[in-house]
Symmetry: C2
Subunit: 263 residues, 2 copies
């Protein structure tokens, strides 16, 4: 089986011009098949504010109304995605930018109203058409995917980028040996949040339960890790949570940096 690296890069890096540039230089140098899923960052919020559209929140969760859907389609699918693609093209990476609508690669259901909360145009992923991505990869393209899915009525849907990355990694693991890398601004999962060097090098389902019982793993991290173990159970070879600066060392030099999740 050929190797494929599915990488998620989040808003903190997208928002920082220098960090993004450096990340894309590293990404382009990865010597394996690769797919990038990018998050949104603050740009959408800024554009919304500029247009006088107020972010609607219900119980701390953002609601995607029709106007907000337009904004995220513009910003995620247009501005961020196409600038990443254009930048990668100068770095000899033959990038092609996609949303879930392109080739209907990520089909979702509009999230039903739950406990009286209507999240609006938010997608819960139903199917990733791995054949679309495989076709593009075999044709020499590197897919760059914005966090938008499409439903069967042709509506774009705002979709969590972490979930997009994990669902894509799972679907691709039928044809590839897949590593899923979450790049962020910390060195990995930390044993002590105050100590940036307290990275937990490896977590397996046994140690994960132990770490949760000890209270070492904080609440915010639990959904991310649950998601990651779910991906592993569905066929992904490894999930790595690491600092964006370490991406190349981890992939090209097989250095043990960040936190590796394995079966």
């Amino acid at each position: 089986m050929e190797e494929l690296v599915v990488i998620k890069v989040g808003g903190n890096i997208i928002d920082n011009e220098d960090a993004l540039k450096s990340f894309l230089t590293d990404f382009s140098a990865i010597n394996k098949h690769k797919i990038l899923i990018h998050g949104g960052g603050k740009i959408a919020t800024e554009i919304s504010k500029g247009l006088g559209i107020e972010a609607q929140m219900v119980e701390g969760r953002r609601i995607t109304d029709a106007e907000t859907l337009k904004i995220v389609t513009m910003v995620y699918g247009g501005l961020i995605n196409k600038n990443i693609v254009a930048s990668l093209q100068t770095k000899k990476c033959n990038a092609i930018g996609l949303t879930g609508a392109d080739g209907a690669v990520v089909v979702a259901n509009k999230r039903p109203i739950k406990n009286g909360i209507d999240y609006g145009y938010v997608g819960d992923i139903k199917e990733v058409k791995s054949s679309v991505l495989t076709t593009l990869i075999n044709a020499g393209f590197t897919p760059i995917i914005a966090p938008l899915s499409v439903d069967e009525n042709g509506s774009l849907l705002n979709t969590n980028a972490d979930t997009m990355a994990s669902e894509i990694a799972c679907a691709m693991s039928k044809q590839y040996k897949v590593s899923l890398v979450y790049c962020f601004e910390l060195q990995g999962v930390l044993r002590d949040f105050e100590d940036k060097n307290s990275v937990i090098n490896e977590i397996n389902p046994g140690t994960y339960n132990q770490l949760k019982e000890e209270g070492v793993i904080s609440k915010g991290m639990i959904p991310k890790l649950d998601n990651a173990f779910d991906a592993i159970n569905k066929g992904v070879d490894a999930v790595i949570i690491a600092h964006a600066d370490h991406l190349l060392a981890i992939i090209n030099e097989q250095k043990k940096l960040g936190t590796v999740l394995k079966k």
Copy 2:
């Protein structure tokens, strides 16, 4: 040689929800290989206004400054392109949305300052990589292209959609028998602008000169037709200027509607 239809649809149709829906239904029913190039429409101007960015004009021409480039990247490359793609996917057309940056399919030079006018981030097309489009078509995709090109520094550039369509048609004519169709809101090139039924059915270089001498073809139409004849000289089989409503009749039923330009 297999046939390929390259279709340009303009802002007037993009701006009208019903007209666009009807156009996309027809487009999806075309029984040949096809590529769509779409214009911008008024949405970019509305979003710019909303954000307080004033359109800069010099001698009647719009200047694309850095803020305007962001807007057109969002609106053309994101909002319009991805909504067209999502809609076509519901009509069994396996659309994939592209800008010139994706696969570096349309590479341009930033227009140099001419007669003291700096047009800003505007692209003059240098190269269309037809192999990228052929690869996508052979893989079963229908390319939907926004009027944005990319330069060698990785900057996106605002690009005239008519020119995009004609350059793409020319490049594709190496591998396909290409018809280039400009869809707009009139029945074709009119002999008498007041009489909507005075469509000139066919123009060749000889009759074109005559029509220009007679003053039948108006100033505004001349650059469009020059462009069209240029495409024919570069290998495009036919250029058709027609009402969007006649697209299917022209292509699938070979009906003689609109104005056909031939050698």
